[in-house]
Symmetry: none
Subunit: 192 residues, 4 copies
Amino acid sequence: MTQTPRSVGRPRNAEHSELARQAALDLLQEQGYASISMEAVAERTGIAKQTLYRRWKHKRALILDAFAEQADKLPMLPTSVGPEEELQAFIRGTCRTLTGQCGRTNRALMAEALQSPEFLVEFRERHLTKRRRQLRGILERQRPGLEDQRLETLVDLILGPIWYRLLVQNAPLDEAFADVLAQQALATVAQT
Amino acid sequence: MTQTPRSVGRPRNAEHSELARQAALDLLQEQGYASISMEAVAERTGIAKQTLYRRWKHKRALILDAFAEQADKLPMLPTSVGPEEELQAFIRGTCRTLTGQCGRTNRALMAEALQSPEFLVEFRERHLTKRRRQLRGILERQRPGLEDQRLETLVDLILGPIWYRLLVQNAPLDEAFADVLAQQALATVAQT
Amino acid sequence: MTQTPRSVGRPRNAEHSELARQAALDLLQEQGYASISMEAVAERTGIAKQTLYRRWKHKRALILDAFAEQADKLPMLPTSVGPEEELQAFIRGTCRTLTGQCGRTNRALMAEALQSPEFLVEFRERHLTKRRRQLRGILERQRPGLEDQRLETLVDLILGPIWYRLLVQNAPLDEAFADVLAQQALATVAQT
Amino acid sequence: MTQTPRSVGRPRNAEHSELARQAALDLLQEQGYASISMEAVAERTGIAKQTLYRRWKHKRALILDAFAEQADKLPMLPTSVGPEEELQAFIRGTCRTLTGQCGRTNRALMAEALQSPEFLVEFRERHLTKRRRQLRGILERQRPGLEDQRLETLVDLILGPIWYRLLVQNAPLDEAFADVLAQQALATVAQT
DNA sequence: CTGTAAGCGAGACGGTACGTCAAGTCTTTAG
DNA sequence: CTAAAGACTTGACGTACCGTCTCGCTTACAG
C-alpha cells in the first residue's frame, strides 16, 4: 500500500473536501464555469484558501476532483441486456447521462482540459476511461479477437459523434440520434 | 448592401487589425493559449490597448477573429475528384489540416468557446460552418433527396470522431484513421 | 494692429465658444469640478474635441475662460458710497458674491491653479486682479501716499481671511464676518 | 480604548506603509504633484498595487496620510516665550514653516482638497487642526473669556493672510510680512 | 501532561491582466 | 481654413484571481 496514513498532527477535517467539491459544482451550475474560482469556493464554504490549496494543488485539481467524485456516483449502465441490444443500451444511456447537468459539467471540464494537457490526461484517466472501457468490453464481446488498435478506433467512431454534439455543436443527444448512431455502429461492427 | 462605407472621421489604420491578429496567433503558437492577453498583444505590436478594445470588444473577439481570418486562407479541398473518392478525400484532407498548428489553434478556440456560449455560436458560424457545408454538399451529391435532419446527423457521424480525437483523446488523425472513418461513412451512406 | 481678421476659409462658428463655456460651467454646477472634461464638454455641446482644442490650448484654458467671462458679467460694486463706508461695502459685497455659485467656481479654478503655476498666474491676471485693484484704490483714497508694498500687504490682510474661509475652512462668508473684517481693516488702516 | 489590535490573519508589513508614504512625498518633491500615482508608488517601492489599495482606499488617502505623518514630525513651536511675543513667534514660525517644501506640499494637498469635500474635511482634521488649536490657545491666554465664535474668527483673521499668500498670491511669507501681520493681530486682540 | 507536528481561518502579499477613462494629437471628408 | 467625426498614443484608474506566505490558534499522537 502507498498510504502511510500520516497519523501525526491534527487530522484533516473530512467534511471540508466534500464541501469544497460541492461548492465548485454549485458555482458551475449557478453561474457557469467562469465563476468557479478558488476565492469564490473559499468564501462560499468558509474554508480558508490555504486549506484548499493544501488539498488540491490547483484550481484545476479541485474542479477535476469535484467532478470525478460526482460522476462516480452515477449508476453504471445495466449490462444484463441481451448481447444485441447491449450496444444500443449503452449509447442511449450515455446520451441520456450527458443531457442535463452532467453534460454541462463535462463541457466545463473540457474547457479546462483544453488549456492544460496534463489536466486532459488526468481527466481522461480519472473519468472518461471507465466508460470507454465499458464500451470496449461490449464491442469485444460482440467481435472477439479484434486487435487492440482496431478496437480503439471503433470506440472513437461511437463516442466521437456524441462528444462532437456535446462540445462543438451543442446539439441535442436525443434518442433518435442515439439510435441512428447505434445502428451505424452495429453495421460497422458486423462488417469488421 | 451592407457596407455604408463610413467615410467620416479618421479611418482606422488597416495595418493594425492585421498586426494584432498576427500577434495573437504568434502568441498562441509560441507560448500557448494562456499567454494570449490584450496586454501582450498591445505590447508586442505597439498598438495601444485602447485601440484594440475599440476594434474588438473582448479578448475573445480578437482571438476568434484572428483565427477565422487565418482559416479562411486555408486552401479548400479539391472537389474535382470522382464522386466516389470525394468523401474520402474530404476526410483525409480534414484530418491532415487538423494535424499541426491548425489543430492546436482549434483546440484553443474550443477552450474559449466552452466558456462562453456566444463565442461558441460565433466560432461555429465564422469558421466551422464552411467545412460543414462542404461535407454536406458531398453527401447530398451522393444521396440526393435526403431530408435535412438526416443529412445533419450524417455530418455529425463523420466529423464527430475527428473532433473527438482532436479535443478529447488527443489522438493522431493519421491516414489510417481517416480511411477507416471514410469506409464506415460510405457504408452508412449506402445503407441510408 | 493685431487683427488681420483672417477672412479665408470657413469662419469660426461664433456660437461655439459660448456654448462650450456654458457647458463647462454647467458641468461644474451639476456634478462638481471633477466631472469637467473636454470629452464631456464635446459630447454635451456636439462640438468636436478638435474644435475645442483649436480655441483653447488646454482644458485649463477653457475653464478659466469660461469663468472669467462669467465673472465679467457680475456687477461691479457701487463706489458711490461715502469714503468711510466704502471699504465695508467692498468687503460685504465681496463676501456676498463669493457665497453661492461664484464661490464654488472660484474654488474649482483654484483647484486647477494649484496644479499649474502658469494657470495660477493667468487666473490672477484675468480675474482676481480686477477686484484687487479696486480694493487697492479704496485704500489709496483713504490713506494717500502709502508706498506700494505696504499697500499690497494691506490688501492681503483684507482678502486673506475671505479666501481662507472660502478655500480652506469652507466657512460661511456672512455679514457678521464681513463686518468684523471691515472693522479690523479700518483700524489697521488708521494706524498705518 | 479604540485599538482592538486585530491579531487575526497575517499582519501587515509595517515597513510598507512607511515606504509608500515616503515614495509619495518623494514623487511630490521630485516631479510635482501630478506625478503622484498609485502606479508610480507601486513601481518605485516594489509594493503591489493591490497592497496599496488594501491600505488606502484612494490615491487621495495615501497622499493625505503621507503628508499628515510627515507634518506630525515637524517640531512644535516653542511656547515658552513671554506672553506678548508668543503670538509673534507663532506667526513667524508658521510663515517660516510654510516657506519651502512644506508649503509646496500643503499647496498640493489643497489642490486635492478643493476637488473633494471629504478630503478637505480630513485634511483639516488630520493636519490643520493642530496648529489652529495652538493659535487659539495663544489667543485665549491673551484674552481669556472670549466667546468661541469670536475666537474662531480671530484665528481666521490671522491665518487667512498667510494661506492667501501661500495659495493664491504665491507671495513670499517673509519676516516683514509676518511682523506686519503680528502687529495687526495684537492690535485687534487688544481692541476686542 | 507535554512537546511537536500538522490543520485551520484570516488575511496580507507580489503578480498579471482585466476593461475603462480622459488628455491631447492626428487624419479624414465636407463646407 | 474651419468643422465634425472619430482613430490614435499615453498613462493611470480601480478590480479580480492566482498561488504563496505568515500569523495565532486548535487538535492529536508521541514521549
